[in-house]
Subunit: 267 residues, 2 copies
């Protein structure tokens, strides 16, 4: 079982990843696909004249400020557009994909962070109307029900809170939690860089392998969005996933290359 | 088994319908819910500065002109917003809803109308870039798989064409096709009128019962959107559905009232 996270970042060749997934399924492999949608959400927000707002928590994590109106935009972009087009792209290649969000069948149940402490212009503030959550439970039975019948689940990063509100969750960490819950062997996180780089400006500085015991030491090389991917990798390792591959989604045969170690492998 | 169509029209009390669905599920009934989303699609189109365009076919059917960009808007509004919020509303009432579009697991396979003849300013024109389809096959096994495990499928009116393109389908007719394929006893189509009226301007002119043999004769009373509901009812009857209820979605206990004959019953 392989869990694949397809990012919403610029340059990712979704069609090429889908073609590789179809090839691997033909060889008997099973997949669960988790996607993002930041780019689409930002584009929709801008087009509607409501530019996205990002906040920085006191612990330094950057996340999208998601009030109820933003949550609905997020659902439109992520569950409506990205998920539907990904299912279409997979179906076109013979993969019988089923698109879900974490609300469906309570697939992803999350604790809503009802207050978050943020830092803005040097001051600490408390946000109370944010609909962001941290996944606490995965409905593994629903995924297995679909997988056993030959379907490939494609999951949008929305969850249902314990008080039944739709909430936005981080896609990388959702993929890690799902991989752990399913007992997947491999988690592949695609983005628009070759993997973890020693020097962000130098694609040739790829770190090919990180032994799990030394992940903390290597985490220092992660900047920006890569920080959440490393956090996801840590969570997946703790959850029993054997290997996490941070791979380039822009190249020819992205999945085949990732499986052949042309990426950062953490194990 | 009851198939319920919840319209996207103004005034429909979705929460009240969801509460009634929860009540009936508590009594052992099973449901499949199909929804629309015209209102949300129009609102999103307007907000993005791309007002919706409707075309009239040579046979007099009015439908949304759906080029690829409109299809993506439609997916955002219908599969992204309406479907997600409906699943949330059902989950809130204890119904374990699973949102799907017709692309998921090839739930609804449609023949894309690759050319449609329309009438515009008195002239016949041919549209070639329209992504609208007519459902030809329902993946009943996927619905039963979910229903048997206690899930309630909630279906957005998108389908996958035989050449694997996402297409827009009519929600009322989708509900009728699904009810037929499932061998449902009852199809309830909610809208913002009490049912089929002899006089559109007079809600008291409700036609309480239509024997199936006389449907054609009564169809003449249908105007506007009601025409497609009557078309759906005809298709459902031909498909073996025992009764079709055209009911008011704006009143208290809309579903309970519909089941207690406060609507138009066709059987």
């Amino acid at each position: 079982m392989i869990v694949v996270k397809i990012g919403g970042s610029e340059g990712t060749d979704v069609g090429a990843i889908c073609a590789d997934v179809a090839e691997q399924i033909g060889k008997g492999e099973k997949f669960v696909i988790v996607h993002g949608g930041s780019k689409e959400t930002n584009a929709l927000s801008e087009a509607l004249g409501r530019p996205p707002r990002f906040v920085t928590s006191v612990s330094g994590q950057v996340s999208r400020y998601t009030d109820r109106a933003t949550l609905e935009l997020f659902a439109m972009a992520v569950a409506g557009k990205v998920n539907t087009l990904l299912v279409e792209a997979l179906q076109r290649r013979g993969v019988n994909a089923v698109g879900l969000s974490g609300l469906d069948g309570r697939l992803l149940e999350a604790r809503r962070k009802d207050t978050i402490k943020i830092v803005e212009e040097g001051k600490t503030k408390i946000l109370r109307d944010d609909f962001t959550g941290k996944i606490e439970r995965v409905n593994v039975a629903l995924l297995r029900l679909l997988l056993d019948q030959g379907y490939t689940p494609v999951i949008a990063p929305l969850a249902i809170s314990t008080s039944n509100e739709a909430v936005n969750v981080d896609g990388d960490r959702a993929a890690a939690t799902i991989a752990s819950a399913l007992g997947a062997d491999t988690l592949i996180i695609f983005s628009n860089v070759p993997g973890l780089l020693r020097d962000v400006a130098d694609p040739a500085s790829l770190i090919a392998e990180i032994p799990r015991a030394r992940l903390e030491e290597f985490a220092g090389f992660a900047a920006g969005r890569m920080k959440k991917k490393i956090l996801g990798a840590e969570e997946a390792l703790r959850g029993g996933v054997k290997e996490i591959r941070l791979a380039d989604g822009r190249i020819a045969h992205p999945l085949r290359n990732a499986l052949e170690d042309r990426c950062t492998v953490i194990r």
